[in-house]
């Protein structure tokens, strides 16, 4: 392999594993090798091969992305200088929409007349099924859904850690669904730029010195929060949960200097 190819491979490999600095991006571009995505695709396939479950995207996030899409596509059209086309297109669409609306109104009127004539208003039975509007499911509702759908719920009541405050609440967890929720009351608000709360799961598979990282979360001034648990590793029959205060972004291993919450599993459905 030539020196140039060696350098190219270095850059492509670094892009795949660690990402490139702006200077390295420029270098790769100057070498006309930006389009070689073979290592990135390989890494992507490996990451897919290691994915254990696909969770649904939160509804509120989808709404955010849909809004961003509207903005993005509008800008794209404006930037491409095809505003006129779009206007024409929109005009056509509005014309079509107007006719469609008029048609729909006629059909609705006819249907209404028919239903009113055939059935008494209160005995009309179910009408056409309305298209459900997207509903934002809160973590509280997600928690309720988990409790309703999982048959292996482990539950742990919150007890105080080693700090001065005394929070309350509970943690529920399903091994089968690899999902759970923490519900807290009375946890002090944290400043996310300085510190974050981080959950640790003590389960059957891990050494007690190295519990599973259950993800980070923040608490606002309200102090009441329901947080989904997202373990980095597969958790099996958790025995205890702990919440520590860590630096922003969380840590791989906690020094356990600030333990905010402890929760020992008390019940586990079989």
């Amino acid at each position: 392999m030539s020196e140039l190819e060696e350098r190219l491979l270095d850059l492509l490999e670094k892009r795949t594993f660690d990402g490139l600095t702006p200077a390295e991006e420029r270098e790769l571009s100057e070498l006309n090798a930006t389009d070689d995505v073979s290592l990135d695709l390989t890494a992507a396939a490996i990451s897919l091969a290691q994915l254990e479950k696909v969770e649904p995207m939160p509804v509120h996030l989808r709404s955010r992305i849909e809004s961003a899409a509207d903005e993005h596509f509008t800008q794209k059209v404006s930037q491409s200088g095809s505003v006129r086309t779009v206007r024409e297109s929109n005009t056509g669409w509005w014309n079509w929409f107007g006719w469609a609306l008029a048609g729909a109104a006629c059909i609705a009127l006819a249907a209404n007349i028919y239903l009113t004539r055939v059935n008494p208003p209160l005995a009309a039975g179910p009408g056409p099924t309305p298209t459900p509007a997207p509903v934002q499911i809160t973590p509280e509702q997600q928690r309720a859904q988990l409790l309703a759908s999982a048959s292996d719920i482990a539950k742990a009541n919150i007890s105080a850690g080693k700090e001065s405050y005394v929070p309350s609440g509970d943690i529920v967890w399903s091994d089968a669904k690899q999902a759970g929720y923490m519900r807290f009351h009375g946890l002090p608000a944290n400043d996310p730029s300085k510190a974050t709360y981080q959950l640790w799961i003590f389960d059957q598979t891990q050494d007690k010195a190295t519990p599973i990282d259950g993800g980070t979360f923040d608490v606002d001034a309200n102090g009441d929060v329901v947080v989904p648990i997202n373990p980095r590793l597969h958790a099996t029959e958790p025995e205890m949960f702990a919440v520590t205060m860590e630096k922003p972004g969380g840590v791989v291993v906690s020094k356990r200097e600030k333990i905010a919450v402890l929760a020992k599993v008390e019940t586990q459905k079989s």
Partner: protein
């Protein structure tokens, strides 16, 4: 045959975005949650990823990969970029939790794309050290230096395992690119 979702997006079809979110929203979200610890970070990352997907849709080449793998590639790039910019570093001196993920968990893996199944097969053919380095790097998002710290391997050895492992996996997946001869 109907155009792929990415082709429709590349043509400026706004409706294809909803199809894209229906089809790949959960996948991208799951990748982000796996690699980023904070839910807020993951949400921001996923939004950025989908914008990247729209911007790069025209680059998708169905002869080179499936849509799923292409989208996972864009997701990984964006997440790695965020991790790099956040200067996230391992701060403690014990790493057993990172290393304790069982190596063989094939029974719990889900089949997402053809390439994912082939990649799982390819991983199994690699040397255990190569598998370990690739898993820590690609799945856990650790840098080569972090892997060296975690495993106790010299940094140069980590780099060698990473390079040989990924080149060998690429060859087994039939993806062409520079440096093929270095894979042996």
């Amino acid at each position: 045959m109907a155009d792929s979702i990415l082709k429709r997006i590349a043509l400026g079809n706004r409706d294809a975005v909803s199809d894209c979110l229906d089809t790949y929203g959960g996948l991208v979200w799951s990748i982000a949650r796996k690699m980023l610890r904070s839910q807020n970070d993951a949400e921001d990352a996923v939004q950025e990823i989908f914008i990247d997907i729209w911007k790069n849709a025209e680059r998708f080449d169905e002869n080179q990969s499936s849509e799923t793998t292409f989208i996972a590639m864009i997701a990984r790039r964006r997440i790695i970029d965020r991790i790099r910019k956040s200067n996230r570093r391992i701060s403690a001196d014990s790493f057993e939790d990172v290393l304790s993920e069982p190596e063989s968990r094939g029974d719990r893996k889900i089949e997402i794309s053809v390439e994912a199944g082939e990649a799982a097969e390819a991983l199994r053919t690699l040397k255990p050290e190569q598998q370990q380095v690739l898993q820590l790097s690609i799945v856990q998002g650790l840098s080569h230096q972090e892997i060296a710290d975690v495993t106790g391997m010299p940094l140069g050895t980590v780099k060698t395992h990473a390079r040989r492992g990924i080149l060998q996996a690429r060859e087994m997946l039939g993806i062409t690119g520079i440096g093929k001869e270095a894979s042996i």
